[in-house]
Structures are given as structure tokens and as C-alpha cells.
Symmetry: C2
């Protein structure tokens, strides 16, 4: 017969990590507004008092959870062939968008109800603009004409995927990504 009346406590970083992870999952499942701090605590196996002590408001908890995972823009290999590189980046972006964390980020930031989260939204935009380097290099190689609106092209690709996933609620697979990239690249080349 074990003597422990309670399960062993998780403290410090262990407790913080558990809570932030549950927060991300919950963000993806129910979104920001419906996220309940007491429920997060329960799911993390932690007393709600401990959570409130560390993060006085829901906004701060969510901000830290999102910040812990943003700012690591998905890396991709640059082969030097523009179309292949864009597809590689797109695959990474889609994988991110489909992951629990990605769901959390998009659900939390799309409507951006909470002013607390605005700064993070721009972080997401920055990530979206990650492969800009690919395009500028393609211009330098002469693969694209100098006047091409690269920023517009990226926004358009990202937007098409967003539309597909979050408005039409249909899956965005590699075939779809390829169609989008080809459409935009063809447009970019006149």
C-alpha cells in the first residue's frame, strides 16, 4: 500500500512546461475566448491557484504559450530552384498549420479579439514572409523580372491556403499547394 496521498508535485519549469503545453492544446481545441484557466490547470494536473499566481490573466498565459512556440519559423532547405523551394516552404507551412500548435496560433490570432495578442499576430506575419529571401534571390538570378511584386505573391500564396483551410474548411494537400504556387508563379512571370 503506497503512502502517497497525492501524486508528486510538478514544480518550476516542469510545471510551467506542462501548463503551457496544455494551454496550446486548448487554444487549438476551443480557441481563446472559450479557454478556461481553471480547466487548463486541471488538465495539466496542477492547482488553479498555482496557475493564477504565475499568470495573473488569461491573456498573459496565452501570450507566453504562443510566444514559447512562435519565433521558431519553420526552416526549409533552399536548393536555388525557386519553384521547388517555394513548395518546400509551403509544405512546412501546411504542416505547421495542421499541427495542434498551428491550430492554436491561427485560432488565437485570426480574429485577434484580444489586444494582448496583437503583437504576436505580427510575429505570425513575419513567419509568413519567411521565404522572401527565396524570391529576392530568384530576381538576382534573373529567374524573375526585377519589378515583380514579391510581397504580394507571398501574401497571395499564404492567403490562398488560409482561405482553403479556414473559410472553405477543406484540406490543403500537396497537390493543392502545387496548384497555388504554380498559379502565382505563372502570374509573377507574366
Amino acid at each position: 500500500m503506497t503512502k502517497r496521498k497525492r501524486p508528486p508535485q510538478r514544480r518550476g519549469e516542469a510545471m510551467v512546461g506542462a501548463v503551457l503545453q496544455v494551454t496550446l492544446v486548448q487554444l487549438g481545441v476551443v480557441g481563446f475566448e472559450r479557454l478556461s484557466v481553471p480547466e487548463v490547470a486541471a488538465l495539466a494536473g496542477v492547482n488553479k491557484t498555482s496557475v493564477y499566481r504565475r499568470w495573473p490573466t488569461k491573456g498573459e498565459l496565452v501570450r507566453e504559450a504562443l510566444a514559447s512556440v512562435l519565433g521558431e519559423p519553420p526552416d526549409f532547405v533552399a536548393t536555388g530552384e525557386l519553384r521547388a523551394d517555394l513548395l518546400a516552404w509551403g509544405r512546412g507551412a501546411l504542416a505547421f498549420a495542421g499541427s495542434p500548435v498551428g491550430q492554436a496560433v491561427f485560432r488565437a490570432l485570426l480574429s485577434a479579439d484580444d489586444p494582448d495578442l496583437r503583437p504576436l499576430a505580427s510575429e505570425l506575419t513575419r513567419t509568413t514572409k519567411g521565404p522572401m529571401g527565396l524570391l529576392t534571390r530568384a530576381v538576382r538570378r534573373g529567374e524573375l523580372r526585377p519589378g515583380a511584386n514579391l510581397e504580394l505573391a507571398l501574401s497571395t500564396i499564404a492567403g490562398a491556403l488560409l482561405q482553403r483551410l479556414h473559410v472553405e474548411h477543406r484540406p490543403a494537400d500537396l497537390a493543392y499547394l502545387t496548384q497555388v504556387v504554380d498559379l502565382v508563379l505563372d502570374g509573377l512571370r507574366r
Copy 2:
């Protein structure tokens, strides 16, 4: 000295209209989750009891408010010149997206937290696909090649505007719309 202790009541359709209108405004301002039925009632100058009697849940109130305004896809004139027609449609779509009602629709439907609202989301998609006729006619005229992926093109245009407005939080004016339409049209024409 006026004898009226209370302002005159609004009944029936007048009351319903006032409440639905306030509901739309509030949807645009605070979104679905933060929308408060008692607050809507107060803003509409109506007792909350009356609101609850007519719409037992917030979901039903919002659904009726949105339904009262969706299903009227913004019309546009079709001149027969594809680019001009797409731009005309886009102007209408942007005007809609910028209006209080449009804000309401997007904020309520983008994340689509509430299962009650799912059916309306597809309504929005239908509206998005409104100008499909323009494209099919352009194909028939020979202005576009038969195999062109028209649905993809429309999704991409809509997505680019969505990305601009709701992720980047930057204004989408006529110049931007024109760039997007030209990019996609150029891509569609190979």
C-alpha cells in the same frame, strides 16, 4: 412636464429589427464569444427578457441576425470584359468586408467556434464563389483556356484579400485589389 414614465415600447417587427441590427453591430465590434445578450438588449433599448423570449440562446439570435443579411450576395454588373468584371466584384466584396455587417460576418465565421454557425459559413463560401459565372463565360468566349482552374483562381483572390485584411491587418484598397486580380489573371492565362 411629460407624463410618460417610460419611452414608448417597440414591438413586433420594430423590436426584432432593432435587436438584430444591434446584434450585427456587436458581432462586428466584439465578436461572437464576447457578445452579451443582456448588453444587446440594453443597446437596443429593449428588456433582456423580451430578447430571451424570442431567441432562447445566443446562437439562435446570432444565426438569425446573420441570416437576415447573408443570402443577399452583392450584385455587380457584368460587362463581359473579364478583368473589369472581376474588379467590380472585388470592389463589392471589399465594401462588404469593410462594412459593419461584413466585419460581423467575418469575425463570427472565420474561426467558426460555434457549431451553430457552421451552416452560415458555407453560405459565405457560396457568396465568395459568386462570380464563377464570369469565369465560365470567359472560357466560353475563348478569353481563358478551357482547362483553367477557375475555382482555384477565385479562392486565391478571396484568400489574398482575407490575408491582407485579417492577418496582416492592412487596408485593401482598389490598387491592392487590382494587383491581386492581375496577378491571378496572368497566372490563369499562363
